[in-house]
């Protein structure tokens, strides 16, 4: 399944890196702890979080995560979006909670 295939079910507003939507996703990792993501997210995972500050882009980029789903319609600063575009990371915002997003992505990938 590709990142682009989950947009509708998870109500994603894609803010950056449209080409990232072509990348294959293998699963998702839900965490707001950046070191935990670096330790435990797997290649091809999409990352579900409420963190919105600049460091999430560096984590995703260094870890090889192509997409970050920001939950609860949290606002993402322009500087973060700019950085994400440069680094080739898709930032996608959803009104859903982390629980709902994880449940839906889980069903889609099953």
């Amino acid at each position: 399944m590709k990142l682009g295939d989950i947009i509708n079910d998870v109500s994603l507003d894609v803010k950056t890196c449209n080409v990232c939507l072509d990348s294959v996703i293998t699963g998702a990792y839900v965490s707001d702890l950046l070191s935990d993501v670096m330790a435990n997210a797997k290649d091809g995972n999409v990352w579900i979080t409420l963190q919105t500050h600049l460091n999430i882009v560096a984590v995703a980029s260094l870890k090889g995560v192509k997409g970050i789903i920001i939950v609860n319609s949290r606002r993402v600063d322009e500087a973060v979006l700019k950085k994400a575009e440069e680094e080739g990371v898709a930032i996608m915002v959803t009104p859903l909670s982390a629980f709902e997003v994880a449940g839906k992505v889980y069903q889609l990938l099953k």
Partner: protein, 145 residues
């Protein structure tokens, strides 16, 4: 792609304490360099994680520091030295979950106490030297098989 490392390639980056906005830049530069050199993806990933965690610790805990890297056909050596408070009890600091990060740093999602364990896990050689009141030096080697 064949490895394109001729002898030893080295470089340094300066790190400034408290500079969260540019955190990860040194690690990203090193990652780009390794990619250019044709180093395998899995090795680059390990080096990136280890370096980023070390970079973050300088930014969170120290006033300033340097990241030095040396790349040979056999491995990547990374040395991060900082002018900071040092670590009183290294054994305790190495325990997963131990953190003295202040509340505002935790709100950013750092301070899980997994940085040093992540560095150790992702390197083949891990050494830490620290003097309380002076600073900390972390040395890591990631082998290129």
């Amino acid at each position: 792609m064949p490895l394109n490392i001729d002898g030893c390639i080295e470089g340094s980056y300066q790190l400034i304490g408290g500079n969260f906005a540019t955190a990860g830049e040194a690690s990203t530069c090193l990652k780009l360099k390794l990619t250019e050199l044709g180093v395998a993806e899995t090795i680059i990933r390990r080096a990136s994680i280890a370096t980023f965690e070390a970079e973050m610790n300088v930014i969170i805990y120290a006033a300033a520091g340097w990241l030095h890297y040396y790349i040979t056909p056999h491995g990547i050596k990374i040395r991060i030295e900082d002018m900071g408070p040092g670590i009183e009890d290294i054994e305790l600091a190495m325990q997963e979950g131990f953190s003295t990060a202040p509340e505002w740093v935790r709100e950013l999602g750092w301070g899980a106490g997994m940085g040093l364990p992540n560095m150790k896990k992702n390197s083949d050689l891990f050494k830490i030297d620290t003097v309380v009141g002076e600073g900390t030096t972390v040395e890591m080697v990631i082998n290129i098989p």
